[in-house]
Amino acid sequence: MNEKTMRKSRWQTVIFLLIIIVLTYLSSAITQFNFIDGMATIPEAVGWIFSNLMITQESLGKLPKILEKLNETILMSIAATTLAAVVSLFLGLFGSKTTKINNFLSVFARFIASVSRNIPVVAWSLILLLSFGQNSVTGFLALFVGTVGFLTRAFIESIDEASQSAVEALKATGATYFQIVSKAVIPQCLPQMISWILFMIETNIRNATLVGILTATGIGYTFDVYYKTLNYNAVALVTFCIVIAVLIVDFISNYIRRVIL
């Protein structure tokens, strides 16, 4: 590295930093975010959390009800992810370069994945809420649509990556399309796919809370009710339950991942 390139890279760094600073300034102006105020609220907020968000004897009485809702939410996320995985498996097979049937289906699969992924879960749940009403199916469908988009992209990538040579070998033996998929592609990609499915289940449990607040179902709704009635002890309990649930799911999926990958 001679002096000239070093000077050039130094200039690049300076310009880059300037752009970041300008963008930060613009963003804080447009969102009316005051950095000092914002940072100052952190200790205040932490203090408030420790003094008010306490689980009391009284709120523990609500535990069975909360657990029931939490159960519903977790089951909903798992169901949405599993069914989405089945759909994504087909879309992924159509979309991947190695296993595509024809170009039209490939583009179609990628298009569906891209649209359903890029419209946020919030938009889906608000759209579906209009006609499906306040029940678990709305939340389920909202999570389902978003998950299909994400998993299809992940599956396409893992199929593309894994199975090129095995597919060629099976083609050479005269295997049919179905045989290639079931004997080469799926066995090879399955651990990777399961890892993605587990990741999505975790994400969906967290998203389900958000969807629940919007569609008035599951644990999100329970949280919202206590939050709006200023029952902060119950809010703390709900949050605590969600944390425990997510950590347990995290632990199980980490174990599975360690074994299979």
Binding site: T31, I49, Y227
Partner: protein
């Protein structure tokens, strides 16, 4: 490897699926997921659901949304401004998160800090990640008041957790030789970070930050809708839950979609440039 002997089925054929641990775990995971899915469908709360009419209605709604988008409660300028607010929220949460995450990940990387500090940071990050973003925002909203402060602080937490994981993994992959070479010249810890670790991982870190920005845009939309943080998400919430104006919902969805496509295009290019081998 365990001792090899040929397992046979009852009729004497050789069992070609010898059933190692990986296969078993994969099978059990799939069986369990299937069972849980069926159980979920049995326990769903189907209150007030008429599936047939709901599906036709949704199809109809989607048709109106996507084919006849229009604005009625605000104009183009206002829409652009609100998209700007959402982008601004996402940007601030990402950039502040990246700065904090950088220092935390120096503490979390096993080759740069001691075992206990690294463990404590990791546990801390795991707990932060377990609380959904919307709950962080709502909890902060009580203390800081509704507005951009609460939203950014809430989003900050998950950004930090995500980036600490990505950054510390990047730091751990830095070649050991670089450390040794710098230590041999008498560099202290900060020198090593500044002239060894940072230059060799910088582009990598930058791509992660951009990926997080893409995620944060979606999160910012969600926070606008669910936690009143403002921006285009809030308009989306108002249009669909208060005005029931499908044409406006369609317009807002298009706006979000366009921004998301642009961001995705950028990050795909970054990915193919800096992460040629990995898929994530």
């Amino acid at each position: 490897m365990e001792a090899t002997y040929i397992r046979r089925k009852n009729d004497g054929r050789i069992n070609i699926r010898s059933g190692n641990k990986v296969d078993q775990v994969v099978r059990w995971t799939l069986i369990l997921l299937t069972i849980l899915t069926i159980v979920a469908f049995i326990f769903f709360n189907y209150a007030g659901l008429d599936l047939g009419s709901a599906i036709t209605e949704t199809a109809n709604n989607l048709k109106v949304m996507f084919l006849e988008p229009a604005l009625s409660h605000f104009n183009w300028g206002e829409a652009t401004y609100q998209v700007g607010v959402t982008l601004g929220l996402a940007f601030l949460a990402t950039i502040i998160g990246a700065i904090i995450a950088f220092f935390l990940s120096l503490m979390a990387a096993t080759n740069l800090s001691n075992v206990w500090v690294s463990r404590i940071v990791r546990v801390f990050v795991a707990i932060i990640r377990a609380v959904p973003t919307v709950l962080w925002v709502l909890i902060f909203a009580i203390a800081a008041g509704l507005g951009s402060e609460a939203a950014i602080l809430g989003m900050l937490f998950h950004s930090i957790a995500y980036l600490v994981k990505a950054f510390s993994e990047a730091f751990e992959e830095v070649d050991k030789g670089i450390f040794e070479a710098l230590q041999a010249t008498g560099a202290n810890w900060w020198h090593i970070v500044k002239s060894g670790v940072l230059p060799s991982t910088f582009t990598y870190l930058l791509s992660w930050v951009f990926l997080r920005f893409e995620i944060n845009f979606g999160v910012a939309v969600a926070m606008g809708a669910a936690a009143g943080a403002g921006g285009i998400g809030f308009d989306l919430f108002m249009a669909s839950s208060f005005y029931f104006d499908l044409r406006e919902v369609g317009f807002i969805t298009y706006a979000i979609l366009i921004i998301a496509f642009i961001l995705e295009g950028f990050s795909t290019r970054l990915k193919s440039r800096y992460f040629p081998a990995t898929s994530d």
